[in-house]
Subunit: 340 residues, 2 copies
Amino acid sequence: MTSKKKNITIRDIAKLASVSYQTVSLVINEKPGVSEKTRRKILRLMEEMDYRPNRAAQMLTTHRSKTLEMLIVDVTYGGRLADSTKNAARAAREAGYSLLVSETSFAELAEALESAEARLVDGVIMYAPRLRISDDEVLRICNGIPLVRRDYVPNSRLAWVGFDQVYATRLAVEHLIGLGHRQIACIPPMPELINGYWRYNAWKNTLLEHGLEPGPFCEGDYSMRSGYEAAHQIVASGQPFTALVVGTDHMAVGALRALREHGIRIPEDVSIVGYDNTELSAYTEPPLTTIQFKFSKQDELAVKYLTELIADPQIELHQRVLLADLIIRESTRPLIDSPS
Amino acid sequence: MTSKKKNITIRDIAKLASVSYQTVSLVINEKPGVSEKTRRKILRLMEEMDYRPNRAAQMLTTHRSKTLEMLIVDVTYGGRLADSTKNAARAAREAGYSLLVSETSFAELAEALESAEARLVDGVIMYAPRLRISDDEVLRICNGIPLVRRDYVPNSRLAWVGFDQVYATRLAVEHLIGLGHRQIACIPPMPELINGYWRYNAWKNTLLEHGLEPGPFCEGDYSMRSGYEAAHQIVASGQPFTALVVGTDHMAVGALRALREHGIRIPEDVSIVGYDNTELSAYTEPPLTTIQFKFSKQDELAVKYLTELIADPQIELHQRVLLADLIIRESTRPLIDSPS
DNA sequence: GCTATGATATTGAACGGTCAAGTATATTGG
DNA sequence: CCAATATACTTGACCGTTCAATATCATAGC
């Protein structure tokens, strides 16, 4: 039955409506030059025959595919990817696009972009939290395909959408300073991660600006284990601290465990701030004060920006910066001077 | 410069190689009928001109797109989606496909599949953890597109790849029984979730098979909050229990908090088993005994199965069942009879 | 020496749309 | 009343492939 299913084409519809195929094309593309009566008739027929224009044929002539690609570059630790693709897929669909997802490494980036071009992808959202690359290089390899990075890349003048990591970190550090803390340690994400680099520097600089000496620090890699080990190291360093800024809620969970093992009480002995406001952060013991990033907003905005860029490639590239919020819970509290 | 970039076509290559375009086509598709010498020459030229076949044109004639679609249906709670799309994207690429991701609801499912067809998607991976639908209905709406569900759907005789939830649950429950527990409570995912349905039933049936009366239970929705509330309810029910099976690690975190608030010690008073073996489960207090699912395996296998199905649509549909593992940590321990 | 054979290469027609230019008819204005 | 214009619709070419049918040629068989 359906095996013999001849695809209905624009010409079949045209024949049924006794007009030419071009008229049908005009209707499909909502272009003027068709009388209301004919338009209705054609629309009805398309409905009846449940006709769908062949995307391949459209692509062939228009050189566009109504497809965006989310290119994930060198993302190893999964937790933070979360629903990005789902969010982006939804946003893309709402803008009339499909979303292709692909995953690659820095070494294969150029190739990935070439194949994006071959697939006639209309634009690329790059999610590359560790990618250091010059703007010129990006322009060179992306073959003119509109591209928006879904990252905080303050050194780049190309299009990106990201959370201001300096602002976010300032939020965390100044919250602690405001509570009276003077010895503030840090477990930043490792500097290979762009966010790690900025969080580390922002932590240090905020302290210096306030006339405070940066406390001990030790990098993590986003995993709970790394937070655990980093916290151990910081304690082992012997340098005193009454507060700790931990680069993600996940690492904070590891840090909490490590500190507990050392008999350090939270928040009585040490106040802790995490990042991300994951669901988890409300359920740690004690619940974590944390920096909230609305990632779904970032995903949506990246798609939105990209579609704008596709619609008008002439608009001047800019950067869309999102700001984080501070969520205060019970892992931070005012410093109470010990009676020494 | 690049603005005037005329796309190089198969005919350009043909001209340069002084052969016909069809010969080039044969080379591209690795078909026989071309002498080794000509083949080499053409390959070299394609390399030099960095020619890439136009996917749209290929799609138009072949009616295939070398694209798979991951269709996410009614997934609300994000945590568990995690890296599925990334895993699938990688697996797809390794099999020579691109991966399209889209997100939809039950109500729009038919439409989503129609548009998949219009896009000439070669096959669909459906991730629909709550979708109850007859096999006939699925066959009807998917228009002959090969489809593999990435779910445990024991009632379906169509293609699916999933973890045996009954086996998994048995693993959890019998572990507890083996430790001497006789009063085993449960916080299953809500029955709208297919996994929830099966976990609940498997919990109950395993107990009955062992001659035990099912303990109190209360459903959750995957969120930590729901685990928290469910645990409160179970305690409030007044029915005694010495062990608790919680449908996800996330919910277990909530449950841990609730039980702690009631002064119930884990594992001294109550043993707990979670599901998923998330990174988190090793960092709860105490670390959670849990059921491990290798989700990345499931994603990969779903892609693999789908590509097999595309290659040979005649193969008899079957179901690929994965088995979970039990990871024992400190949240479970032998029941010590109280001296009453 | 002539035909059968297989390997290699060519040609023309799809595939299902879009685009640019064209025609036919009705409407307007001077 | 006729040219100018607007509206509605049509035609032919083209996008870059693949596919089926066909041509060419050297080699082998008899």
